[in-house]
């Protein structure tokens, strides 16, 4: 599930389904996302370092998994498609 600006940029509505290997991780999901939607390259992770951009977080199964290792398996519910991996942009006030 992508934040508004990235859905607009990618030209998608709602949730996106991706094929990200049998035991998907943050890294393989983001790799698959960027391969499917190249316009998103650089908008979630830095081009050169592949580090997460500062104001992006990842939620899954009601848990903030942003700081989990990028190669750790995602929860089974996400792997099965029962729950989404949420890419979240930080709230901004004003």
């Amino acid at each position: 599930m992508l934040p508004y600006h990235l859905r607009t940029l990618a030209g998608v509505d709602g949730e996106i389904s991706l094929d990200a290997q049998e035991r998907p991780t943050q890294r393989t999901v983001l790799d698959a996302l960027e391969a499917t939607y190249p316009v998103l390259r650089g908008t979630i992770r830095d081009h050169g370092t592949a580090e997460r951009r500062d104001f992006i977080r990842f939620f899954a199964c009601r848990r903030d998994i942003t700081l989990d290792p990028a190669d750790d398996p995602l929860p089974e519910e996400v792997a099965s498609g029962a729950e989404p991996l949420k890419v979240v942009a930080a709230m901004a006030g004003g």
Binding site: P3, Y4, H5, L6, L9, V39, R41, G42, T43, I44, D46, H47, G48, R53, F55, I56, A89, A90
Partner: protein, 371 residues
């Protein structure tokens, strides 16, 4: 009849304003890329349908857009701006060394002759070039690798390369300006660069006339006389008659010689426009009166242009990329404000009209003269 297309970048999207050659009635389209900061949009002089746009947010970084049909449709193009080699460091606000980090594209300058070639001035200050219509970008690292690079220090707005001027008769010669490093020139197509800041004096520097460190806000030229340059510096209106080899002050009777944009009339190379701003820190028009100042003598003697502009309770600013001229006859002048107004004067500044009043804060205005 020919016409004008204004490409307006704002804090919350882009707008395209079009009119026929009379420039009396305007059509306003937008916002495009709603919610994104649009630092600059610009058109290719070689192909009026080819447009480039810089789109960014703090969340998602830099995105680049290209249109091949005059802005009707847009295509996302390459957004990877990788510094050449080991980036090294520049001076930080506190005087320590800080790694070069790409933040955003401030200014786009398409080639005068090739629609697929476009230059991008970025923060942290560097110059990039694309020769494939924006798909890929390569740094012209001879600029940032200049021996003074580690001395460059950001101004309050960041260490940004905001001005790119291409010499119309000699494509090997270009001028750029960086806040707060100064002005630089190449005579070999961007391979090597040298500072061109002789004559600049900046009270913010311990050594007021040092080679680099000057907060140049904008440089402008008239293409018919490309070695005469006009500069709006943090303080001081400056002029060079020798392609930047030396500068002298032409602030004259301006009520404030601080400001951001500067433009030269399209047909009168000694007619120059600035918007004086009260500073330091306030950055609003003096006496709360929005006045464009025009010199018809290449500086020193300035007249206030007020017809149609608010002359009370006005506290907007006009940013460095937010003033532009068309090339119709008579020449038109345009500017946008941080209050969201875009003003037009189709008679060279004598009378102004607000085309639109309540846009998001305007970052840039580029006037494209249509055939």
């Amino acid at each position: 009849m020919s016409g004008v297309r204004l490409l307006v970048g704002t804090r919350k999207g882009a707008f395209v304003l079009t009119s026929d050659g009379t420039r009396d009635d305007w059509n306003v389209e937008g916002p495009l890329f709603a919610g994104w900061e649009m630092y600059h949009l610009n058109a290719s002089p070689a192909d009026p349908d080819r447009l480039y746009a810089s789109q960014s947010t703090g969340w998602h970084g830099q995105v680049m857009q290209r249109s091949d049909d005059g802005g009707k449709t847009w295509e996302t193009v390459g957004n990877e701006f990788a510094y050449d080699g080991v980036p090294g460091t520049h001076q930080w606000y506190d005087g320590t060394q800080h790694p070069w980090e790409f933040a955003r594209v401030w200014h786009l300058e398409p080639s005068l002759t090739d629609p697929d070639t476009v230059f991008a001035g970025v923060e942290d200050a560097a110059l990039f070039r694309s020769v494939d219509a924006g798909k890929t970008w390569q740094e012209l690292s001879g600029l940032r690798d200049h021996e003074t690079g580690p001395q460059w220090q950001p101004g309050a707005g960041g260490l940004c390369l905001h001005t790119i001027l291409i010499h119309p008769d000699d494509p090997q010669r270009m001028f750029v300006a960086i806040s707060a490093a100064g002005a630089f020139r190449t005579d070999d197509g961007g391979e090597t660069w040298r500072p061109i800041n002789r004559g600049l004096r900046s009270g913010e520097l311990p050594d007021e006339d040092r080679e680099v460190g000057h907060c140049v806000h904008r440089i402008a030229m008239n293409p018919s006389r490309p070695d005469v340059l006009f500069m709006q510096k943090h303080w001081d209106m400056m002029r060079s008659d020798d392609a930047g080899e030396s500068w002298h002050a032409v602030s004259g009777n301006l009520p404030s010689d601080f400001g951001f944009p500067i433009a030269v009339h399209p047909h009168e190379p000694d007619t120059v426009y600035v918007v004086p701003i009260k500073s330091d820190s306030e950055h609003v028009p003096p006496d709360a009166k929005l006045r464009v100042y025009r010199s018809r003598t290449g500086g020193n003697e300035w007249e206030a242009l007020t017809n149609g502009l608010p002359q009370s309770h006005c506290y907007v600013n006009v940013l460095r990329d937010a003033m532009s001229v068309d090339s119709l006859d008579p020449g038109g002048v345009y500017f946008g404000t941080t209050g969201g107004q875009v003003y037009a004067s189709p008679d060279g500044g004598d009378k102004w009209t607000a085309i639109v009043r309540d846009l998001p804060s305007v970052l840039s205005v580029e006037a494209q003269t249509l055939p």
